[in-house]
Symmetry: C2
Subunit: 149 residues, 2 copies
């Protein structure tokens, strides 16, 4: 099982999912709902149903579901994964997760994956957003210099 927001897909996401897939036979992905993303990070650019549908289109993904908002462990109880794969930069604390799983009698292993060593600097959603904004601000600056087209 892998989890995430997966807003504006990039090669860092693909790397994480492929590494997770290597740990088992079937990769089930839990996509965070818009409400969860807003609580933990920021407003998502892409709505949850589209983020889920795009994830389902990836070769590496066998199944994908939206998470639950109130209790992040209830989806784990439903999926009953053998392994929960954490991305290298996911904030979840492994010990907290392990204790909570134990409490609920869930036998999933928790494995922290390695960092993506991409050649491009376009790894993260934030960097994509920054690039979009930089292109937009450059265009506005050029319009101030050159006049409207």
């Amino acid at each position: 099982m892998a989890t995430g927001t997966f807003d504006l897909l990039h090669m860092g996401h693909i790397y994480y999912l492929k590494e997770a897939k290597k740990l088992g036979d079937t990769l089930v992905v839990v996509v965070a709902t818009d409400a969860t993303v807003r609580r933990l990070k920021h407003n998502p650019i892409t709505p949850e149903d589209i983020r889920l549908n795009l994830i389902k289109e990836l070769k590496v993904v066998d199944e994908a579901y939206l998470g639950h908002e109130k209790d992040m462990y209830s989806i784990v109880e439903e999926i009953k994964p053998d392994i929960i794969a954490l991305g290298f930069d996911q904030v979840h604390d492994e010990t907290t997760i392990k204790n909570e799983l134990k409490k609920r009698k869930l036998n999933a292993k928790v494995i922290r994956l390695s960092k993506y060593q991409g050649e491009s600097d376009l790894e993260g959603t934030r960097r994509i957003i920054q690039k979009v904004i930089a292109a937009h601000e450059f265009q506005k600056k050029m319009q101030r210099i050159e006049g409207e087209p």
Copy 2:
């Protein structure tokens, strides 16, 4: 064969590729190079190698290659597709393409696909970009009103 830029993947891209796939057995996708995108549209947000690699990760895609810059038909000569599937909004003129294919003795059918009837307004790359920019400008406006965080 399907072609495109595929910058910031969205469900309109998926729809186009799935419709193209329905026309045959193997879907080969030609991804436009950065130079071609700059010539025809705008600076791409995502570099060509990443756009290509992401397309290769989609279930619907069997093979994918970068296009050639000088002669857009040379990749058609290499791939020798049975069918070239055009997206509903792709600017290519069907008659021009058909004549050029004839001249080169290529027997590909050219089929124009239907429009994507998505429920979301987040269909296009431009709309994603606008959404990123709107979110950024709202944030800047709030900072002017509320002060820096």
